[in-house]
């Protein structure tokens, strides 16, 4: 190898090494500040706070899919969720499932007819040990330390869909194509997404920051309760204390934060 070529290669080698030091430095030196920079939803003065947000769904109060539609519609509307005819491209944050799909493994051969026909509301469980966060190679999905919500950074997601494989609840959707033409009415208060990124329920982090309850909870008129799992006096704790509740796939150890009164 002639010496000038060698020099050029050395130059590029050293330059690329130098470029690599920055992320390494950032990862090591800014550990403490990293959390601050991820708080991209600014909190208002009236913001609702919790150690770990949780939801209790009183499934007894849902008799038919019609009872759920206002909740689902409220979520779809404010989060700019597109509607696709092709089921493959579907985006779902909160939706309805049969008991044996919401709770596979818990469905007995013979079951209360009423429970079997009752619709079950499913959404992201905002697990305390979220496997999706563990899987994400870019921290585009992360568990917010301040209140335990599992959030998505739509601008960092590379669309590898590892989180979708990791989620045992099928809570995540991928934008298989540009969703914007399929949004009935765009709400300018919430970002629309681009093709190629994953999305899911965010427990209405943007509403909590303004002091409002999640849209589905508001629309449910008491059928859903929302509160701090670690506040012994919260409404959710009260309901869990006084009712027998179940969680989806509890045996997997992800510690889902959505409880169901059956």
């Amino acid at each position: 190898m002639d010496s000038s070529r060698r020099r050029v290669l050395q130059f590029f080698g050293i330059s690329s090494l130098a470029l690599m030091t920055r992320p390494v430095y950032n990862a090591l030196a800014t550990e403490g500040h990293a959390e601050k920079s991820r708080e991209h939803i600014k909190r208002g003065e009236k913001a609702l706070t919790a150690k770990q947000w949780a939801m209790v769904i009183d499934t007894r109060q849902f008799e038919s899919v019609e009872d759920m539609e206002p909740l689902i519609e409220a979520c779809n509307k404010i989060h700019n969720i597109p509607h696709f005819e092709d089921k493959r491209h579907e985006i779902k944050w909160i939706w309805e499932e049969h008991y044996h799909n919401a709770f596979p493994g818990k469905a007995a051969q013979f079951l209360s007819e009423e429970v079997e026909n009752r619709p079950f509301l499913v959404l992201c469980n905002h697990c305390e040990n979220p496997p999706c966060v563990r899987a994400c190679p870019t921290q585009a999905t992360f568990k917010r330390a301040s209140d335990g919500i599992v959030l998505m950074d739509f601008h960092r997601c590379i669309g590898c869909r590892f989180c979708m494989a990791a989620c045992p609840f099928g809570a995540r959707s991928f934008n298989w194509r540009d969703p914007r033409p399929f949004i009935k009415q765009t709400d300018a208060k919430f970002p629309t997404r681009t093709k190629g990124v994953v999305e899911k329920c965010n427990f209405c982090a943007e509403r909590l920051a303004e002091g409002k309850l999640p849209a589905c909870v508001e629309a449910a008129e008491g059928k859903l309760a929302f509160g701090d799992l670690y506040d012994p006096d919260s409404e959710v704790r009260e309901l869990i204390k006084t009712n027998y509740t179940i969680r989806r796939k509890q045996e997997l150890g992800t510690e889902p934060c959505v409880y169901y009164i059956v």
């Binding site: 585009a140 590898c160 989620c167 099928g170």
Partner: protein
């Protein structure tokens, strides 16, 4: 040594042109995918990985399979393999490049790929997979190239290569182990949630990789003046025979555990693949074909008379390569996603654009492989 790759026969240029045409068509369709999104594939909300990730997984195996010529030569001083180690290393290079391309074409936002290194995430297996794959590519490039150049100059290769060569052996195991960990560490995916996944991946890798290498050696002998050697091919064939037996054995262990324990979530995936579930059965003929091919492969490579006949051996290697490809490249990924964690059965069928893009990635790999093998064989012919 690159000059050896640009002096070739008409047949060589014809083959390269053929590959370039496939790459070109695939690239155009990839531009379409970039524009429209991954919706042009058959993947869905329930089956969110498909043909790309499946081929990626299979090719990680082929890349790791290269170690089956490196290990006996450098660790056990099995001299015969000295003739073909560089072929194993170059096959690994081409395979790893295909792996990386399959990852890129599978990303929803490929232009953000460097986020993986901008925000290094130690708890993500995918982060480690990029490290081990790129590391393995680097090791094989440095080792293969320098050892070949030393051979051309009739000198011993540089001393500093030795530690890298030793490192490349466990590294080969690591690439397929980490790739298996992508799948087997996920809760709620019963089909993959098995400690034997990494060993099973390695077993099928050590069958598929050396099978392809045998076929390539037979082709090289026919179309060039370099003979990789009968002993070498026979030794590789024995490796293939053991590995394919172990692969099928591991699979049968899976079947026993799922069906004797009778746990529905573990049985459901195997049922879907081999007999169909809820009326969906697209993979059933493929899976039975896969295991029939592997069974034929076992018979032909284990029986000495058939293994020693190189014509029959070529057939055996072809059926083993195809059988392991269907097993890993079709069944492993689709089977893990079906039924979904909510027990819905939504079948995944790759679309034509998806298949063409995948073919173009394979063509790119074979283009690189042809260039590298052309150089290697050119050097071998020179020194002979």
């Amino acid at each position: 040594m690159l000059e050896l790759a640009i002096k070739g026969t008409k047949r060589y240029y014809g083959w390269m042109t053929f590959l370039l045409v496939i790459i070109g068509i695939g690239f155009l369709i990839y531009l379409k995918q970039l524009d429209f999104g991954l919706g042009i594939t058959g993947m869905s909300r329930d089956v969110s990985w498909g043909f790309y990730i499946a081929n990626f997984t299979f090719l990680v195996g082929v890349a790791a399979g290269g170690v089956m010529v490196v290990l006996p030569y450098y660790l056990h001083d099995y001299k015969a393999f000295g003739r073909i180690t560089v072929l194993g290393e170059f096959l690994a290079i081409a395979s790893v490049i295909m792996c990386l391309l399959f990852i890129i074409v599978d990303l929803g936002q490929p232009m953000r790929i460097f986020n993986v290194w901008l925000y290094p995430t130690l708890h993500s297996v995918l982060f480690w997979d990029t490290i081990v794959l790129n590391g393995y590519l680097f090791l094989n490039l440095v080792i293969g190239w320098n050892v070949l150049e030393a051979e051309r100059n009739s000198v011993h290769y540089q001393g500093w290569l030795k530690p890298l060569i030793y490192l490349s052996i466990p590294w080969a195991v690591s690439i397929h182990t980490v790739t298996a960990y992508l799948f087997c560490g996920l809760p709620g995916r019963g089909f993959w949630l098995t400690a034997i996944l990494a060993p099973r991946f390695l077993a099928s890798a050590f069958a598929a990789g050396p099978s392809l290498l045998i076929l390539l050696c037979l082709i090289i002998r026919r179309i060039t003046n370099f003979d990789p050697g009968r002993e070498q091919i026979q030794s590789l064939a024995k490796i293939v025979a053991y590995a394919i037996c172990v692969n099928v054995f591991f699979f049968l262990c899976e079947v026993f555990v799922a069906f004797y324990s009778n746990i529905p979530e573990h049985m459901a995936h195997l049922k879907y693949l081999f007999v169909g579930l809820h009326g969906k059965a697209a993979y059933v003929p493929w899976m039975w074909a896969s295991f029939s091919l592997m069974a034929v492969g076992i018979i032909l490579t284990v029986v000495p008379a058939t293994r020693k006949n190189e014509g029959v051996l070529a057939v055996a290697c072809t059926v083993i390569f195809l059988g392991t490809w269907i097993d890993k490249g079709l069944g492993m990924i689709a089977g893990g996603f079906t039924p979904s964690p909510l027990h819905h059965v939504n079948e995944y069928i790759p679309t034509l654009p998806e298949i063409v893009i995948a073919l173009a990635v394979w063509a790119t790999g074979f283009l690189i492989l042809t260039v590298l093998f052309k150089i290697a064989v050119g050097v071998k012919e020179e020194v002979a």
